[in-house]
């Protein structure tokens, strides 16, 4: 579904909490990014950030509960693309996620998803609303250079709240 707001075009898709829908979301991302002329490398980076966010929402947030939904929204501005992914889970404290590049964490099996999202996007925000769920916002400037943001150097915009 595509909507128009005052200053942005909005595309919204709602998914059931099934990991199979991660690939479905990837296809939507690909279509949106192609229409915005992002090159292949940026499409991969943004697509991967959405992939990791969708997994967080479905698997960690909603715990694959079929009664819960995930909202994927694209806000297309002239100068940037904002992607919001919202779940109905209990939320998480992002400050408790260990940095995967620390020597003690290098060989850990998990903990790289948030790091990759930060690396691939220009901005990343997390908003936990107790009793409602978690919404992450991924921002990519349009026509910006494609330098990788070293995953954690730009944390000043996080708006996370520890639930409960």
């Amino acid at each position: 579904m595509k909507l128009m707001s005052a200053d942005a075009s909005v595309v919204e898709v709602v998914y059931e909490s099934d990991l199979k829908n991660v690939e479905a979301a990837e296809e939507v991302v690909h279509r949106v990014l192609t229409s915005l002329n992002f090159d292949e490398e940026e499409q991969h980076r943004i697509g991967m950030a959405v992939h990791e966010s969708m997994i967080n929402a479905i698997w960690h947030g909603n715990r694959s509960d079929p009664a819960k939904r995930v909202w994927l929204q694209f806000f297309i501005y002239d100068d940037r693309l904002e992607i919001k992914i919202r779940d109905q889970g209990a939320g998480f404290d992002i400050s408790s996620v260990p940095h995967p590049l620390e020597p003690d964490n290098l060989l850990k099996i998990s903990g790289r998803g948030i790091f990759l999202i930060r690396s691939f996007m220009d901005d990343f925000q997390v908003k936990n609303v107790p009793g409602e769920g978690t919404e992450v916002t991924l921002v990519k400037r349009r026509n910006s250079n494609t330098d990788i943001n070293q995953g954690g150097l730009h944390r000043e915009h996080e708006g996370h709240n520890t639930p409960g």
């Binding site: 997994i55 995967p100 590049l101 099996i109 790289r112 998803g113």
Partner: protein, 120 residues
């Protein structure tokens, strides 16, 4: 498309040609069980050929790390062959290029294994 694996023996090294997606769920489970099965059969020199891996996510990367640790803990070696640019970039960003022994030439990769960790 989920992950597929073809196993072949080159001298003393077990080469696993992987293709498809290594992501949370089926792909990661398949890879975990594959490595566990190979280790249980005494294959301790594993060379994972990632040339045809089309997509790998953070969970897939974690599964590679898990395999590396499992093989190392049994005195074996797990190495990587033919990384695509996307996989190479991911391992670089996550500093795992400092962990894995990565090769672009299969013959040289096979020759690099210690003889002591060969398949029984």
């Amino acid at each position: 498309m989920s992950m597929k694996a073809t196993i072949r023996q080159v001298n003393t090294v077990t080469v696993v040609d992987l293709s498809g997606r290594i992501t949370l769920g089926e792909g990661c489970t398949q890879l975990r069980e594959l490595i566990r099965d190979l280790l249980s059969k005494g294959h301790k020199s594993l060379l994972l050929n990632l040339a045809d891996v089309t997509y790998i996510d953070s969970s897939g990367i974690g599964e590679l790390v898990s395999g590396f640790t499992a093989v190392s803990n049994q005195g074996g070696q797990l190495k990587l062959l033919n990384l695509t640019k996307k996989v190479h970039d991911l391992l670089q960003i996550t500093k795992l290029l400092t962990v894995f022994d990565v090769h672009e030439d299969e013959a040289k990769a096979v020759a690099s294994f210690d003889k002591g960790t060969a398949a029984s």
